[in-house]
């Protein structure tokens, strides 16, 4: 399938303007195939990206660039029971998922 989402980077630009993700610990809920994750991961201190769909998470893991392996974690989890300690993140990103 050939489709291109936000090739102009409008979403990315606005996300960075509003969220200020630089050097932060980010929790992304509903990361899907990691499309949005890759657009901020390089500036974040760390990113934990969760989704319920194992197939889409497998795609995200497959696409993960080597330089980001140390700071981007993908996992299957529900926002109803987040597997993280209290006050772990600076930013929580609901990515098309609320």
């Amino acid at each position: 399938m050939s489709s291109h989402r936000d090739p102009e980077g409008i979403e990315t630009r606005i996300l960075h303007e509003i969220a200020d993700l630089t050097d932060t610990h980010v929790l992304e809920i509903g990361c899907g195939d990691g499309r949005l994750t890759w657009r901020y991961a390089s500036v974040a201190r760390s990113a934990a990206a969760i989704d319920l769909d194992p197939q889409r998470l497998a795609t995200a893991l497959h696409d993960r660039d080597a330089p980001l392996r140390g700071k981007v974690t993908f996992m299957q989890a529900s926002a109803e029971a987040l597997p993280f300690p209290c006050e772990r993140f600076d930013r929580a990103l609901l990515a098309w998922s609320l």
């Binding site: 399938m1 050939s2 979403e11 509003i18 109803e80 993140f89 609320l98």
Partner: protein
């Protein structure tokens, strides 16, 4: 949904922020574009998601009223999604849960415009997005 938002509140640092990014209009224009030429072929009707939007808005309102978050900033923008072929776009939307059906006349007009506008023409779906920033309150 309220419980999920309370979980997010729990894992955020005291000065943390929640960013909510989602489509907020249920009807998306389908356009065919090449260069500066933009022709509208019709719309994708995603109105089945309106109930989910209402539930999300209600959940957020409850947390704002409970004093757990404060809305700091909100704006809208257009998310542009390009497709090479109408069949691919149609298959994608029909595979969504719940499925979104694009009327046949929209697909037909899209294909006609693609033919008329030349090999460089692309299909573009314009999705109106809402992005909101909420500050955690303690």
């Amino acid at each position: 949904m309220v419980h999920a938002l309370k979980e997010i509140w729990r894992v955020l640092s005291p000065a943390g922020t929640l960013i909510d990014l989602r489509p907020f209009v249920a009807s998306y224009p389908v356009e065919v574009v090449t260069g500066d030429d933009v022709q509208t072929a019709g719309t994708v009707d995603d109105s089945k998601k309106l109930a989910d939007d209402a539930a999300a808005d209600s959940a957020l309102k409850q947390l704002l009223q409970a004093g757990l978050f404060a809305l700091e900033y909100q704006t809208t923008f257009d998310f542009l999604w390009y497709w090479d072929a109408s069949e691919e776009m149609k298959a994608y939307y029909e595979d969504k849960s719940p499925p979104v059906f694009i009327p046949d006349h929209v697909i037909e007009r899209t294909q006609r415009l693609l033919t008329e506008m030349g090999s460089e023409a692309k299909i573009r779906v314009r999705i109106k997005m809402l992005i909101s920033r909420y500050r955690k309150r303690v």
